[in-house]
């Protein structure tokens, strides 16, 4: 972080900013006013790995003023096949430190806020409350339901994405237009759906889906285009086909339905039958 802390957000763009963002500013859908919207935006990214990496990277490049990262893992050699914010020399370093270094190297004008903690029912509302938009790049179902519920209860837009093998999924949940529980009311039984570590994932699919998520964030901030609201985008890298499925708010949804039963955050590890997450020790 550098200029962001000292440049009043209502001020005109500096000559450096005009030059840096000229390829955005020249487009009528963005312009100087849109670029100032990006500078004023506050976006939280859950995870600084496969999806969160390219999302945060493009947010930083575009000059999104405040980028929050929630991450507590350390960089592992096996991450480097796909996680673009981390490099060989970062192995053993906390991912959130590695990510901040890269984002600030790409663009010193943006403020990177580090949330070096697991996101939990105890801290989710406080963390999310500081941001306009939340981007989900979590790697487990418990966190996905937690972030979904917290965003709905906090009235925040959630830009969701998920990957496995050669497939990706992306959608945008705006409060009142459906949520993750409308799409998948219950998590799969533990162990039934493998993780990327268990089944594998094509590194480049993280870039495809992460870039789609970043694009949806920009559209939300700039209020342009047709967002992925009420639509689930399916990406198949092997056939290189994109499918769009209808997604609707479920009136019987326990969170956003007509008679909600989930009115506060719950124990998501118990809900998903998964063990609680533990912070690993950084080795460098």
């Amino acid at each position: 972080m550098s200029d962001a802390a000292t440049t009043p957000r209502s001020e005109a763009l500096t000559p450096d900013e005009v030059m840096r963002y000229s390829r955005h500013i020249i487009m009528p859908q963005v312009g100087p006013q849109g670029q100032r919207k990006l500078r004023n935006a506050k976006v939280l990214v859950i995870g600084a790995g496969g999806l969160g990496g390219p999302v945060a990277l493009y947010l930083a490049l575009a000059g999104v003023g405040k980028i929050g990262l929630v991450e507590f893992d350390v960089v592992d050699l096996s991450n480097l096949q796909r996680q673009v914010l981390h490099q060989t020399a970062d192995v053993g370093k906390p991912k959130i430190v590695s990510a901040e270094e890269k984002l600030n190297a790409y663009n010193p004008h943006v403020q990177v806020v580090k949330h070096h903690t697991p996101i939990t029912s105890d801290n989710a509302m406080e963390i999310i409350g500081d941001y306009d938009i939340v981007v989900n790049g979590a790697d487990n179902f418990a966190t996905r339901y937690l972030v979904n519920d917290a965003c709905y209860l906090a009235g925040k837009t959630l830009v969701d994405g998920a990957i496995l093998l050669f497939d990706g999924q992306a959608t945008v949940y705006k409060p009142g237009s459906g949520c993750y529980r409308c799409l998948y009311p219950d998590p799969p039984p533990p162990g039934l759906v493998p993780s990327c570590a268990e089944a594998g994932v094509l590194g480049a699919i993280t870039g495809i889906v992460g870039s789609i998520q970043a694009t949806e964030v920009f559209k939300q901030i700039l209020d342009i285009g047709n967002p992925l609201v009420n639509r689930l985008l399916l990406v198949d890298a092997l056939t290189m086909e994109f499918r769009t499925m209808k997604l609707r708010r479920d009136p019987s949804c326990p969170l956003c339905g007509d008679n909600p039963t989930v009115t506060e955050l719950i124990d998501y590890d118990a809900f998903c039958g998964s063990p609680p997450l533990e912070m690993p020790a950084a080795t460098a």
Binding site: I46, G47, A48, G49, G50, L51, G52, V70, E71, F72, D73, D76, S78, N79, Q83, K95, I119, N136, G137, A138, D139, N140, F141, T143, R144, G161, A162, I163, L164, L165, F166, D167, G168, Q169, L183, Y184, P185, D186, P187, P188, L192, V193, P194, S195, C196, A197, A199, V201, T206, L234, D236, L238, R243, T244, M245, K246, L247, R248, L277, P280
Partner: protein, 97 residues
């Protein structure tokens, strides 16, 4: 009538890596059962122990989820596409946020 069933990559280990399988059937349920006859084990992926589609899997007829239609009893037409789409959780690292 022939209906194409789209198989996402997490399920292709059952279908010999085929992304589309064309089978005969008059309803979505008959179509799924027909896939099971060609590729035994498919039903174990898309049905639970009570032979219901679990809530972490969505079945689409063309681009509409079958719960918005008539469930597995939804009639299909020649040329329709059925897609069986599971929830995915991958995104970050190894369950690290």
């Amino acid at each position: 009538m022939p209906v194409s069933v789209y198989i996402p990559s997490p399920f292709r280990r059952i279908t010999a890596n085929r992304e589309n399988v064309t089978v005969e059937g008059d309803t979505v349920g008959e179509v799924l059962d027909a896939v099971e006859r060609v590729f035994p084990g498919f039903a174990n992926l898309v049905y639970d122990a009570d032979h219901r589609v679990p809530t972490h899997i969505n079945v689409y007829l063309n681009n509409t989820e079958i719960h918005d239609l008539d469930g597995i009893d939804t009639k299909v037409s020649d040329g329709d596409q059925v897609a069986v789409i599971p929830a995915l959780a991958g995104g970050s690292g190894e369950s690290d946020v």
